[in-house]
Symmetry: C2
Subunit: 415 residues, 2 copies
């Protein structure tokens, strides 16, 4: 008899994490899944038996299309780390009891490195307890730091938002006839993929950003002030894109030196921010010029209104491929994206062992950073340009993009 | 013989200030203007004889369409206050000499309250010196604080950006199953039109912002903390939109109390910012909850990629109407927008005396603020909804919105 499917979303949201949910849902529906459950707030919610049946809320194709255009994680998310695999652990026992009660045959988790750790542990635990539930991971993160995949769904839409916004800010910043420096703070704890994407703002009709500061390059205050000083002699308006996660050579985050780091999440990741604010203060003082800082903050991960069509399509596809793989008998896998060709851009999904993905981190290759450390090479642009192509028109109602209403339980905070 | 036209842009940029330039240019071109000059950096640049001939750069209709889709002030802007009207003043003498040399018959200035002061002074000076140059103002400001007009071009696109972004942020903010408060900082020195527009994020598929803090309402710290505390009992995630210009009852800006105001411009306006950062710190301390602040910063005035079609159209029209008025012999006027009807929305341009506009300021009527002071009434929504309707599709090239290349002189910083 037909089993049920359960899908969860985990970690920081992206503009297209719901497109992956839509892809997995439709593939499960097409395979006759008895129920397609959605965990509310990931496995943290599932442990409290918080879930909905997606058949109840995604009743028509219009609902599915609206879901694709809805920012943030529709099902809610969590940052929850499972304990080490151990057959005597209460968490695992409880989780597998719930899955059994729901008659779940296929379990999908949409997330980044940490979420793949969850898939890895659950699939290993299933083997230990002879469960035939299949566990497959669906990649997602704006940070693009997942290994064994060309890129991760979510990255390209954030990159497109950053490129479009940096281009607009660059124009805004040189509106007055005066010297100024604008410091932009972009997400990315240890990998600079998003900050590097600010380079897309340059081109035949824009100056682009004058300088990038990536976490892959040790940050040096004297070098920074000196570089900006030189750029100022060349350009009236200097726009600098910096990663929130830049560090000095001894490993300390610049925002720690500024004493602005705010809190630590349950994975041990620090909330980094205030780097741009601090550095714009340093520049104002050292160079005696007008400075401004702008933090792109969560806008870069939720600006679904300017999502990349390539990204939305791929996010939808990896959701569907994960479901096909699980129904084909695979478990302990993540769907990854393999690039066949840059031009024309060709990408195929494939399966990789989730254990090789979990907790690892992919950085920008050193060869893609220019020799003067101020920018990225054409190889980076060749890599990223195909990913930001195309748009998905929002469904505007009353002048504002429409979204799918959140699940009632989340909306009313009742379960 | 046919005279020349000169057009300048002044004050803070908007998403549609270039649509007004396009409208004025095409109307002047249609009337056979000998040259259509563009001042570079407003009258400040004109005093240094910095200008271009727009016939050289707007050679095809595609150039004009790209101009409409280009953020910031294409010609560059300034914040420059003319001295009191005085026939012995060097500035006026110099300006009128330059205009005579260029054989200018018609002078247009696209700007807000302060720029209308410039038009007022120049037209009065022209009368004193028997010059027949016509001076007409074209309204522009995201702040929507110009009097004697239903609204100002630029406001609606900023409002649309704010509505769409707040809606996205609201979804992002309740992704985790934890209590949190997000404080959004929105532009508006003394008038809360933009902050109030965050109310557009609410509706049938969004919670919207939970609370607005407008500069029209005296800010009280105890009331603020108490209100947020009450909201927290109702909603897991509380999103608050505050104006950068909120003040306590004795008139001090909240950001002054926070000691974060940065500099004063040449009109004497303070750069206000840091209000949200300060208040999110206050809330974290008093309510012991997770808080985040987001400053929309200049993004709200340059996000041309999500401009309102109504706004772009009206901005284009007021540019053209200004030119028609000047050719009809009017001077010392501003083009204003008169609303005939909310539903169906009907708006007609008319001329008003610029002297009645200059240096005045229009605030949100007290009757449009709800009794609990936490929001705005349906009357406000009826006013603003028609303005944010429709979109203008950007011309994407390589995945990023294309803009018209800035004038070479501005780009290369050479004049």
């Amino acid at each position: 008899m037909s089993k049920s499917v359960i899908i969860g979303q985990s970690g920081g949201p992206t503009s297209v994490i719901n497109a992956s949910l839509a892809g997995a849902f439709e593939a499960a529906q097409a395979r006759g899944a008895k129920h397609v459950y959605g965990m509310l707030h990931g496995i943290q919610g599932l442990l409290q038996e918080k879930y909905i049946d997606l058949y109840d809320v995604l009743q028509t194709p219009l609902h599915v299309e609206l879901l694709k255009r809805t920012p943030s994680a529709y099902l809610g998310s969590c940052r929850f780390k499972l304990p080490a695999v151990d057959t005597s652990s209460d968490s695992y026992k409880q989780l597998f009891d719930i899955l059994k009660k729901l008659d779940v045959g296929y379990f999908f988790y949409i997330g980044g490195n940490d979420s793949m750790d969850t898939i890895d542990k659950l699939s290993k635990h299933a083997e230990l307890v002879n469960s035939d539930i299949r566990f497959v991971g669906i990649p997602k993160t704006i940070d693009n730091d997942v290994v064994n995949t060309d890129h991760t769904p979510g990255f390209a839409s954030a990159a497109k938002y950053i490129a479009a916004t940096v281009k607009e800010v660059v124009r805004d910043a040189f509106v007055y006839d005066q010297n100024s420096v604008t410091v932009l703070e972009i997400m990315g704890r240890d990998a600079g993929w998003l900050t590097a994407s600010a380079a897309l703002a340059g081109g035949y009709n824009s100056e682009g950003a004058s300088m990038l500061c990536l976490p892959e390059v040790d940050f040096d205050f004297d070098w920074f002030v000196d570089s900006v000083n030189k750029l100022q002699k060349q350009y009236k308006s200097v726009v600098i894109a910096i990663s929130e996660g830049i560090r000095v050579a001894d490993g300390r985050y610049v925002c720690d030196i500024a004493n602005t780091a705010k809190y630590v999440d349950s994975f041990g990741h620090r909330n980094l921010s205030g780097t741009a604010q601090y550095l714009s203060g340093v520049l104002a003082q050292k160079l005696n010029c007008k400075t401004r800082y702008i933090e792109f903050s969560t806008l870069q991960r939720c600006a679904t209104h300017i999502a990349s069509r390539v990204d939305v399509t791929e996010a939808y596809q990896v959701g569907g491929v994960a479901v096909r793989a699980a129904y084909d008998g695979h478990t302990g896998k993540m769907v990854s994206l393999k690039r066949i060709c840059d031009d024309p851009y060709l990408m195929v999904p494939e399966l990789v062992d989730v254990g090789q993905v979990a907790n690892a981190e992919r950085k920008i290759p050193a060869s893609w950073v220019t020799a003067d450390k101020l920018g990225v090479t054409d190889d980076f642009l060749k890599y990223v340009r195909p990913l930001v192509q195309g748009e998905v028109t929002p469904y505007y109602t009353d002048g504002v993009p429409a979204h799918l209403l959140p699940p009632t339980a989340i909306l009313q905070n009742k379960y």
